[in-house]
């Protein structure tokens, strides 16, 4: 289980027009994500989703708060990055390397023996349907192909946690479907999945548990069906607006 406890990370931001200073990021957020379930972090742009996801992926560090994986503090876990796979809609793959080289690079950094790594890449290539383009330089890839390589490089270390940050942004309908199907497959494999999005129908389709985040604070969280009952709403979008409008 992944437990996020009182996480705070704030940045200074200056409004370009008004020159007003403000703090953005996340403040005292806590939630738990279980293996074999998809935990959705739902919020508008600038709500603090990416900051949270980057902290969980160990790309950036919190100012306060702790993260526990199976009861063990993140700070005490060696080679943490190998246990977390991070895929982001904004983050790109190295466009001057081939898909194979990118995945191999991540495998090498996870100390996977050469032969085993080659087998793994072969398996991922088969699983994600990358055989036709894996040896081409990524500059020629479509957005969907790039996203497949992104997922493969996150999976090559066989991580316990998969962090998907706005992964369907900008994808066409086919690529978006393929990515969502893969996420469902990883859920079946028992991985801890964090999925951030502002696309509410995607959240409805994928998430088992959610937290609604707004201006760096979690407004409410829980099992999706429990939240539907609690707010007497059919969709996550309706719950989101109910919570956010109450705040405004």
């Amino acid at each position: 289980m992944l437990e996020i406890k009182d996480l705070t990370k704030l940045f200074n931001r200056v409004d370009k027009k008004t020159k007003e200073k403000s703090k953005v990021g996340v403040q005292n957020i806590s939630f738990k994500a279980q293996p074999g379930r998809i935990f959705g972090l739902i919020g508008a742009n600038g709500a603090g989703k990416t900051t949270t996801m980057r902290i969980v992926a160990n790309l950036t560090y919190p100012q306060s708060g702790d993260i526990f994986l199976d009861g063990k503090n993140y700070k005490d876990i060696k080679n943490l990055k190998m246990r977390v796979g991070f895929v982001s809609g904004e983050t790109q793959i190295f466009d001057r390397l081939t898909g194979y080289e990118t995945i191999k690079l991540f495998g090498e950094f996870a100390d996977i023996p050469k032969k085993e790594l080659e087998k793994k890449i072969e398996m991922l290539s088969e699983k994600l349907g990358m055989k036709d383009f894996i040896n081409d330089i990524a500059v020629s890839y479509s957005t969907g192909m790039k996203q497949k390589v992104s997922i493969a490089r996150a999976l090559v270390t066989d991580p316990q946690i998969l962090v998907f940050d706005e992964v369907t942004n900008g994808l066409d309908i086919f690529a978006s479907r393929a990515v969502k199907d893969q996420i469902k497959m990883f859920k079946e494999e028992g991985k801890i999945i964090l999925y951030s999005t502002h696309i509410m129908p995607d959240a409805d389709e994928l998430c088992d548990d959610i937290a609604i985040i707004h201006k760096g604070e979690i407004l409410d969280q829980g099992n999706v069906s429990d939240l539907r009952k609690k707010y007497k709403k059919q969709t996550i979008e309706e719950i989101f607006f109910e919570l956010v409008n109450n705040r405004i």
């Binding site: 080679n79 990055k81 793959i93 001057r96 390397l97 690079l105 090498e108 996870a110 996150a154 270390t157």
Partner: protein, 403 residues
């Protein structure tokens, strides 16, 4: 031991990724290689060919002049008129005729005591007029030689009697049969080396840092199971390799330039010039010394470029940050002429300036170990400070993730 090997192989993988990022941008990389080697020699060769073409065109043109006060030295006037390339016409208004291009110039003859003063007036705004000035000068000089010889014969004297003391110069290095450098090489080589080292690497440093931010691949790199120090150092190492490559290409370009330069560009009595052509007196030992001087500098420059590129939000901003460094290197590169074998040791503490001074000394055949050691210590001290700042910058999210 196994841990060390592991670290090394990870560093190598990261370094390879950075080098591939640069070299797989084929168009940019090939343009960089070709332009580094060929641009200067082609420009020089082109300029030489253009000048030669212009000279020939001007030679074909008829030189029409007038002579003011011909009676001052009728013999000289007749000598000029006898030359088939010159047509002397009469003029009543010399300046007006020159201005209206009727004349290419006119000679104003005067006499001071026994000396004839022939002043050629030409129009600076006309290339043909400038060229005719050179022609007239050659004719008047040849006339002066004839008159001089007549005087010598009349008085039963020789040239030697008029020039009892002959001054010439030779370098100590030539006396000792040591390699002697041409002044142009001494001025240009440290300059070209410095520019080559910085300019070639600059664009790629921006590409690997601000370019990664722009392409949204920096977060991907950071998600590798590697320390930020290793990520930063691998980028510096890739830039180090490219700055050395750029350096080699620029020196090759310089050598090619000298080969294509017109032989008379160096003058007949210049050191380092044999039979009118430049002889680059750079032995293998000198090359090794140049490399030793430049290696610490390459470390320093690579780290500085990565630091500036990392701070930049995008490639455009990175280019602006690096511009002052390139401009500074242009000026510092030209300070080489101020240094010699006796340059005070304090100069070697200053990066770039000290390296130019060291290069000048090496080219002069003076490799002074204490100066080299001072430079190495100073350069690496600054390098480690910049490295420390660069690595810390990689840890600062407001820098890494700012857009």
């Amino acid at each position: 031991m196994r841990n060390n090997n592991n670290m090394r192989s990870k560093f190598w993988a990261l370094f390879k990724k950075e080098v591939l990022t640069i070299t797989r941008d084929r168009k940019t990389f090939v343009t960089f290689m070709v332009m580094s080697v060929l641009l200067t020699p082609l420009l020089i060769a082109g300029l030489g060919a253009f000048q030669e073409f212009q000279r020939k065109q001007l030679e074909k043109e008829e030189v029409v002049i007038a002579i003011k006060d011909q009676e001052v030295d009728q013999n000289l006037s007749n000598y000029i008129k006898a030359n088939s390339q010159i047509r002397v016409i009469d003029s009543s208004s010399f300046e007006a005729d020159l201005e209206s291009k009727k004349l290419k110039g006119y000679i104003d003859l005067n006499k001071e005591g026994t000396q004839i003063i022939a002043q050629f007036v030409y129009d600076q705004s006309s290339n043909a007029s400038i060229a005719s000035s050179l022609k007239i000068n050659a004719i008047v000089q040849s006339y002066a030689v004839l008159v001089r010889q007549e005087i010598l014969d009349k008085n039963n004297l020789t040239e030697l009697d008029l020039n009892p003391v002959l001054f010439s110069q030779i370098t100590l290095q030539e006396v000792q049969n040591k390699p002697s450098q041409n002044d142009l090489v001494l001025l240009l080589l440290p300059y070209i080396i410095l520019i080559g080292l910085i300019q070639g690497a600059a664009q790629f440093a921006i590409e690997l840092t601000a370019g990664e931010k722009e392409r949204n691949t920096l977060a991907t790199t950071l998600s590798l199971n590697a320390s930020r120090a290793m990520i930063g150092i691998s980028k510096i190492a890739a830039i180090l390799l490219l700055s050395l490559l750029s350096l080699v290409l620029n020196v090759a370009s310089l050598m090619l330039t000298f080969l294509l330069m017109p032989a008379d560009a160096f003058g007949p009595s210049q050191p380092g010039v044999e039979n009118g052509a430049l002889n680059l007196n750079i032995s293998l030992g000198t090359l090794v010394q140049i490399f030793l001087v430049l290696l610490p500098l390459s470390f320093l420059i690579s780290s500085l470029l990565i630091l500036l590129g990392t701070y930049a939000r995008n490639q455009k901003e990175g280019g602006i940050y690096i511009l002052p460094l390139i401009l500074a290197s242009v000026f510092i590169g030209l300070t080489g002429q101020a240094f010699d074998a006796n340059t005070p040791a304090g100069i070697f503490l200053i990066p770039l300036v000290g390296h130019v001074a060291l290069l000048k000394q090496v080219l002069l055949g003076y490799f002074i170990p204490i100066n080299f050691i001072i430079s190495v210590i100073s350069t690496f001290a600054i390098f480690f400070v910049i490295l420390f700042v660069s690595i810390n910058m990689f840890k600062r999210e407001e820098v890494i993730f700012r857009k």
